[in-house]
């Protein structure tokens, strides 16, 4: 069989498909960060005083912090003064409708396959498309408004719903939480805000496509999703970025709040530029994602498919405060070429009879390094808490790595915590079996990998699941070990 190093090298030659740059004049602040830059950002966005104060407080705290170094990652030092902290497509006024949106922008989304026009309506997806740092188009706002759902760019929410923002912002991820969260809190540009009122089931999947465009522009998205009592919402986040040589920093914060009996499903397909086959370029993705099951019987599910970025540092977590609340984490993470992923979750059990499920599937190929890092913490108050964790690693080739760091802190004797872990190679036997049935090596790899990821893919909304499978196929083209 031809599963030699030679073939592995052929896989490495595979190029990133979304590598193009849209030529639009950007309104970009010169590189560097100080209090004046933060004041400028806040002023540009016309923010109320409380926002500026919050940003400044975060910034001052950030100055006292150091970048974390505990992850299984090799990160070259980042010069935070070399980054431009604000970039917006040049516009006199925001577009009132799609017709006013720069056609080049729309063409970009077209290339990425973002269903912004009728496709969006047909697919039943509302898209809040983020181009660089400012949201330029939001669809389906009216339909959502008719049931009282607020889904808008974060900066609009600050202007139109300041009391909601003030009440919930930073209530799950405090401005001082960690190095990257503090930086984000100080300089965040935009993102999405969702509020689903009491008893409302959001009538459609909410979706945001992020795209980093202007060179050297760090992206600092801020997303806040609140599901009030008895509410339900499913949110999809998908990302692609154009080709670039410099590393680009992305430090997002996502906060979820589920009140009593509420449910939030948050799904991500991440496909940022991973760097080339020599490990040059690519996005640094340092994200803080956390949800709080604040009320009894609430539920938060994170589902992620991470195929992009040069470095991923990401631990979508659940704080299970309410009695009987449920936290779930389903993850597929791929590290190919020189990609490094250190990702996992934290499940913090505080309330009684809280339950959590963790299913992590790590795929390593090329020289990729894939790390699962997870914490299950059961506090003395969490009587009857349960956790089930399953961590599976799949290795392709002999130059990649898989690492698993499960932490458990159990402080209640009634807790039931289970951990299962497996590491396997795509077995030559499996490949040969498929090939001896007339299936090409490449199709066989896709088949086996998709089978490996099935438990996660089935948690994704239908359209997203198809997208995720395609993405994985593209990312692994020729990857045989």
């Amino acid at each position: 069989m031809s599963s030699s190093q030679h073939d592995l090298d052929a896989l490495v030659a595979q190029k990133y498909r979304h590598g193009f740059v849209t030529d639009i004049e950007s309104d970009t602040v010169p590189p560097g960060l100080d209090e004046d830059v933060i004041r400028l950002i806040s002023r540009k966005k016309g923010e109320p005083q409380f926002m500026l104060d919050w940003r400044l407080k975060a910034y001052r705290h950030w100055l006292t912090m150091r970048a974390p170094d505990w992850a299984q990652l090799r990160i070259s030092p980042i010069d935070y003064q070399a980054i431009s902290y604000y970039s917006a497509p040049k516009k006199k006024d925001g577009p009132k409708s799609l017709n006013e949106v720069d056609p080049k922008l729309l063409a970009t989304y077209e290339k990425l396959g973002v269903p912004l026009h009728e496709r969006a309506r047909l697919a039943g997806v509302a898209v809040d498309a983020v181009f660089d740092s400012v949201s330029v188009a939001t669809t389906f706002k009216d339909k959502l408004a008719s049931v009282g759902v607020i889904f808008c760019p974060f900066s609009d929410a600050v202007r139109d719903h300041p009391s909601l923002v003030e009440r919930y912002l930073g209530s799950v991820v405090p401005a001082t939480d960690n190095f990257f969260a503090a930086l984000n809190s100080a300089v965040f540009s935009d993102g999405s805000f969702v509020y689903v009122p009491k008893g409302v089931r959001c009538p459609m999947e909410l979706s945001t496509y992020f795209r980093i465009n202007a060179a050297n522009t760090g992206q600092f998205e801020r997303t806040l999703i609140v599901a009030d009592e008895g509410a339900y919402v499913s949110y999809l986040e998908g990302c692609t970025a154009p080709m670039r040589d410099e590393n680009q920093l992305h430090a997002a914060v996502v906060e979820l709040v589920a009140e009593r009996d509420a449910q939030i499903k948050y799904s991500t397909v991440q496909n940022w530029y991973p760097g080339d086959e020599n490990g040059v370029g690519g996005i640094y993705n340092f994200v803080t994602k956390r949800g709080e099951c604040r009320g009894a019987d609430s539920r938060i599910s994170w589902t992620q498919v991470e195929t992009g970025s040069a470095i991923t540092w990401k631990y979508p977590s659940c704080v299970l405060l309410g009695e009987n609340s449920v936290g779930e984490f389903y993850s597929v993470a791929l590290a190919n070429h020189y990609q490094q992923a250190d990702t996992g979750t934290k499940m913090i059990h505080i309330g009684r009879n809280t339950r959590s499920t963790i299913v992590s599937k790590g795929i390593s190929a090329g020289r990729g390094q894939n790390t699962y890092r997870g914490l299950v913490r059961i506090l003395p108050s969490a009587e009857g808490a349960r956790n089930h964790t399953q961590c599976d690693s799949l290795l392709m080739g002999d130059r990649c790595g898989a690492h698993t760091f499960p932490y458990m802190e159990i402080k209640h004797p009634s807790a039931v915590v289970e951990h299962e872990a497996t590491t396997s190679k795509i077995a030559d036997d499996q490949l040969f079996y498929c090939r001896s049935r007339g299936i090409s090596e490449e199709d066989a790899v896709n088949m086996i990998v998709n089978g490996f990821c099935k438990a996660v893919f089935k948690e994704l909304p239908m359209e997203f699941a198809v997208e995720a499978q395609n993405l994985l196929s593209v990312s692994l083209e020729g990857a045989v070990g």
Partner: protein, 251 residues
């Protein structure tokens, strides 16, 4: 259909096949018998294209082309089918999905239109009945959690669906109880025909009670020592293999 000429093959430094020759024509059923370690499974593996075997001498012609020059998937598409001795589990991959992909790969090669989900289902339902398999098998992972007998049955189901020109059965009878053996034999017999050849590799005569071969060959130490009709199998059952080896030595 299949012409194996003076085939030598090794794994690493270990020589396993040492000048094996065999002619198989369309419509024939051959049984290759032999003691453990004689090279039976190596022969099946080399013919199907499994990695790790090096052919050092000889050649194999299949339908006039150089079989050993083809990739495993090309051999399959050209109508070669290996029923595995130990079918592998592929967790999460739907049994029906694999089978449909396999069937359509072969159909494409034959210039036939691919079957859609409905036609495929209609086809496979009939075949599953033949193999006395429950339809729930279709939605399980490939061989995932199957018993030994179920795995073997699944192999023959695949064969019945794909309808190969040349079927290689590697120890298909091992691990089967008598009822399962009957079902598997029925599946294999249903495929007998003038256009198709079947080569069975087995330890025991018992399979041959159910699938009657036209030719029986004794493989020992990497060579075919003796060939005959089905009566040879009965003689082997009675006398073991040693006498064949002795006879060969004398000759």
């Amino acid at each position: 259909m299949l012409s194996i000429q003076n085939l030598h093959a090794c794994i690493g430094d270990r020589k396993i096949l040492k000048g094996l020759s065999l002619e198989v024509r369309a419509g024939e059923v051959h049984a290759i018998m032999g003691p453990n370690g004689s090279g039976k499974s190596t022969l099946a593996s080399v013919l199907a294209g499994r990695a790790g075997y090096e052919v050092t001498e000889g050649r194999v012609l299949y339908l006039g082309q150089d079989l050993l020059a083809l990739e495993p998937e090309e051999r399959a598409r050209a109508g070669l089918f290996l029923a595995f001795q130990y079918p592998v589990e592929i967790p999460g991959v739907n049994n029906a999905y694999l089978l449909k992909a396999a069937l359509n790969a072969v159909r494409r090669q034959r210039g036939l239109p691919e079957l859609d989900a409905f036609d495929f289902l209609a086809l496979i339902r009939g075949k599953m009945k033949l193999m006395q398999m429950d339809e729930s098998f279709l939605n399980r992972g490939v061989n995932e959690g199957f018993s030994g007998g179920e795995k073997k049955r699944n192999e023959i189901l695949q064969m019945a669906v794909i309808e190969p020109r040349l079927a290689l059965l590697d120890e298909t009878d091992s691990g089967l109880d008598i009822d399962a053996l009957r079902v598997v034999a029925k599946g294999v017999n249903s495929l007998r025909g003038p256009e198709r050849a079947i080569v069975m590799v087995t330890h025991y005569q018992r399979l041959l009670d159910h699938i009657e071969p036209d030719f029986v060959h004794v493989l020992s130490d990497g060579q075919i020592l003796k060939s005959g009709d089905k009566s040879l199998a009965l003689e082997l059952e009675r006398r073991g293999y040693d006498w064949v080896r002795q006879e060969a030595r004398v000759a």
